[in-house]
């Protein structure tokens, strides 16, 4: 990579340049943008009301009929419309839960790892306590106390799945904080907050970004699970997760009922993953850019 050629650009410009060279990341970003747009404009794009049922038309296969491009489900509802509307629910849940998870996990992991001592001990025992409860249990209990809105469901999922991130980040920070650049920052008189968030956080970006992409998928699936148990979005409202759950009985006879929402989730997760990879590479100056 030619250093002098980009030397005149700003740092943001430089990151963008590096990002742009990452073809997979660009593709990922494009996919994410399209998915977000389709969810946002679902009312305009959807051929019909996603809850409109017509059992006479059920189990239509995809691509058989232009009026029902992706076929229909067990109640004859239009799959494409349900995917589009379901995307609103699932993407909201996935994103909000992911952000909540990552922010909570990273902050607690950094604080525990860097501050050490009593703080570390208290925080990690708190993590241990949270981990002792199966997530399903936590979800159900919390969900039972909070009225089930989309936001509250997302937050509840996020707030019950950050422990893994915090432990990974802490392990990373424990290793990083012994490095001299941290001592250098202290010698300069940097505050703890500055050291944690300016010096250490960017160095722990890799596992955080991986966790972020993985959490999108698990949050989307988790939403379906709490819906299934009765605390999530109520039928007949669609989400990708509950479309998958409803398809359970038809996995061999009408396989596309599961494959379509599953593919939507895969696409989302892949989009976020490659986007994340690209971001990490762009942020990590040490990597060679050779995708």
């Amino acid at each position: 990579m030619n250093v002098t050629a980009v030397a005149s650009e700003s740092q943001a410009g430089r990151i963008w340049t590096r990002f742009r060279q990452h073809r997979l990341a660009l593709a990922g970003g494009l996919v994410v943008a399209l998915l977000l747009a389709s969810a946002l404009f679902a009312p305009l794009l959807a051929p019909q009301d996603p809850t409109l049922l017509d059992t006479a038309l059920r189990f239509r296969p995809p691509f058989a009929d232009w009026a029902l491009p992706l076929g229909t489900d067990e109640l004859g509802r239009d799959t494409l419309s349900r995917l589009l509307y379901g995307g609103r629910v699932s993407l909201t849940v996935g994103l909000v839960a992911m952000v909540t998870t990552v922010v909570t996990g990273a902050v607690i992991g950094i604080a525990a790892g860097f501050l050490g001592g009593l703080v570390d001990n208290l925080l990690m025992r708190f993590v241990d306590t949270m981990l002792c409860f199966p997530q399903v249990f936590l979800l159900l209990v919390v969900a039972a106390f909070v009225p089930p809105t989309l936001l509250s469901i997302s937050l509840v999922i996020g707030l019950t799945s950050w422990m893994e991130v915090s432990r990974i980040v802490r392990a990373e920070i424990l290793h990083l904080k012994e490095q001299d650049f941290v001592a250098a920052a202290r010698a300069l008189g940097a505050s703890r907050a500055r050291i944690m968030f300016r010096e250490l956080l960017p160095n722990a970006a890799a596992p955080i970004l991986v966790a972020a992409t993985l959490k999108v998928a698990s949050a989307v699936l988790m939403e379906s699970y709490i819906s299934y148990l009765g605390y999530g979005v109520q039928p007949p409202l669609a989400s990708w997760g509950n479309m998958l759950t409803n398809a359970q009985g038809y996995f061999d006879t009408v396989p596309w009922l599961a494959i379509l929402p599953g593919a939507a989730i895969t696409l989302t997760v892949m989009g976020f993953n490659f986007l994340g990879d690209g971001l990490r590479d762009a942020l990590d100056p040490r990597l060679r850019m050779d995708p």
Binding site: A144, S227, G230, P235, T245
Partner: protein, 538 residues
């Protein structure tokens, strides 16, 4: 692609190596019968209820009741020498004194003789307020219980109660000589290592997997025909269905073949597909205590608007019989004169207009400031019921009624939400309350509203003096013809006033090997193993 062939070979080779019998589960082992269910019994004391259906299996295998009921609805003696009736003198003329003669030479599986003391002890346990017994229905009418001799008991009722036969049919006798010594029957070791008089003995139990029963050589109705009976638990319905197809199980009963697979199942050449009626009927429950549902015309109009037949045809794939009352249409007391008035949106709109519920500016009907807007709840995750809810929601939307689905986990929706009548509407399936007797006092007598009288299970808070009178009459009538008249009247009133709108009677699709003989659908019992001693290989 030369490289691919050896690879495939390796894969297939290693797979065959691992799968010693290269094809799984095809052969019959005539020494045993494997019955699969999706649920596992958690205790084997027949007095302590948990899961009907699955816990009926250990009950039927290891215990006996005084009498059973066969597929025709006739009572047949079991531990009793004969079923008491007026004719044989078992029931006194006033219907208050019941005398039961017990079989002699019946032995518990530990060799102790079965006597009237055991029946007495069973009765005492049922009435013991420290034991969480499945039900006391009927038994609470016993004023005096007398052991006349080792093989005769006499019971005196406080009022005539014809369904009393059903109470004993459903209650299996436990050994006094073992449980009588227990401080706490609730936690007795007996509950997992039972001693009974039944056709099979429990040989081993693998938690979460299966239970193995060995035939009881001294069974009083003659030893069972097959040496071993295995009750296997396959929690996932689709997986269980798969095992029934591969032959890993001989008979798949509960939860049954999913409705959409019935056609497929009927076509399997080496399998029999059995349609098993249950006493279970699914309803929309309207909470008459809520202002929207106080007027019977509203309840009827709402019911008229629903596409009940369509919901059965399309969501249950036509497997369920449509019923218009709380009984299955094949029940002897079912009122066949009832006319199905559902799927009539126009009629529903007329009736609502007539009742004064007019569409407001938002399209939702309202009267006196109350909007015709309500929630419907059922167990979350039941996809078929969700389908029905979606259909009804659409049906009602068309006539200006807004229904919101609010499903909850079973432990919430069937808790105080139901028992304290907090719901608007429910989608729920229930059996009749006293065995298969048509008596429905607990569900619709005005004295049986728990929020008002702390007793009964009239959760819809339905009150009708005429229904009360008929219910009280029905349980005293000993002639079936009289009873049919009474219960038809009750069904007719309920059909017009609709405290609960019946949708359909639930049936199950069971899959068994053709060679397995004996399993007989019986709509009068909840357990498919009611005649397990007769099951055998052809």
């Amino acid at each position: 692609m030369t490289i691919r062939i050896p690879r495939r070979g390796v894969l297939a080779g290693s797979a065959t190596l691992l799968a010693a019998p290269a094809v799984w589960g095809q052969s019959i082992n005539r020494d045993r019968i494997i019955l699969a269910m999706t649920q596992e019994p958690v205790q084997f004391n027949p007095l302590l209820y948990v899961n009907a259906g699955t816990e009926n299996v250990p009950e039927a295998c290891m215990f006996d009741a005084l009498w059973d009921v066969n597929e025709k609805g006739d009572f047949i003696p079991n531990l009793a020498a004969q079923v008491p009736s007026r004719q044989n003198g078992g029931i006194s003329a006033d219907g208050l004194t019941w005398t039961v003669n017990l079989k002699r030479d019946v032995k518990w599986s530990d060799g102790q003789p079965f006597t009237a003391k055991d029946v007495e002890f069973t009765y005492q346990t049922i009435m013991n307020s420290n034991v969480a017994v499945r039900s006391r229905s009927g038994f609470d009418l016993i004023k005096a219980f007398r052991v006349k001799d080792d093989h005769t008991v006499e019971m005196e009722l406080s009022r005539p109660f014809v369904p009393f036969l059903w109470a004993w049919q459903n209650m299996h006798i436990v050994p006094q000589h073992i449980l009588g010594r227990e401080q706490n029957i609730q936690t007795a070791a007996f509950n997992s290592q039972p001693i009974g008089t039944g056709p099979y003995l429990l040989r081993s139990r693998t938690a979460g997997s299966h239970m193995v029963y060995e035939r009881n050589p001294n069974y009083h109705r003659g030893p069972a025909k097959v040496r071993q009976f295995i009750h296997k638990f396959v929690p996932d319905q689709m997986a269980a269905y798969g095992q029934a197809r591969t032959g890993e199980v001989d008979y798949f009963a509960l939860g049954g073949v999913p409705p959409d697979r019935w056609t497929e199942s009927r076509a399997f050449p080496d399998r029999d597909f059995l349609v098993y009626p249950t006493p279970n009927v699914q309803f929309i429950y309207y909470n008459c205590g809520k202002p929207q549902f106080a007027d019977p015309r509203v309840r009827k109009a709402l019911t008229m608007a629903t596409q009940m037949q369509k919901s059965i045809d399309d969501i249950y794939f036509g497997t369920w019989p449509r019923t218009l009352s709380y009984l299955q249409p094949t029940h002897w007391a079912y009122n066949r004169d009832l006319r199905d008035y559902t799927n009539d949106a126009a009629g529903a709109e007329r009736l609502l207009d007539e009742a004064g519920w007019r569409r407001g500016p938002d399209g939702i009907r309202a009267k006196d400031g109350v909007q015709l807007k309500f929630t419907m709840s059922t167990t979350a995750g039941n996809t078929a019921r969700q389908g029905c809810q979606a259909l009804f929601q659409q049906n009602w939307k068309a006539i200006g009624v807004e229904m919101e689905i609010r499903n909850m986990p079973a432990s919430v929706v069937w808790g105080e939400y139901t028992t304290q009548s907090r719901f608007d509407t429910l989608l729920v399936a229930w059996d009749p309350t006293v065995g298969l007797d048509p008596d429905y006092t607990a569900r619709c007598h005005s004295k049986m509203i728990p929020v008002k009288h702390r007793q009964g299970s009239n959760y819809v808070q339905y009150e009708n003096a005429e229904v009360d009178r008929l219910l009280e009459l029905g349980v005293t009538q000993t002639e079936q013809a009289d009873r049919i008249t009474t219960y038809k009247q009750i069904q007719a009133i309920l059909h017009e006033e609709v405290p609960f709108a019946a949708q359909g009677g639930s049936v199950q699709g069971h899959l068994k090997r053709k060679q397995l003989q004996g399993p007989t659908p019986n709509q009068y019992v909840t357990d498919i193993t009611w005649n397990v001693q007769d099951w055998h290989w052809a």
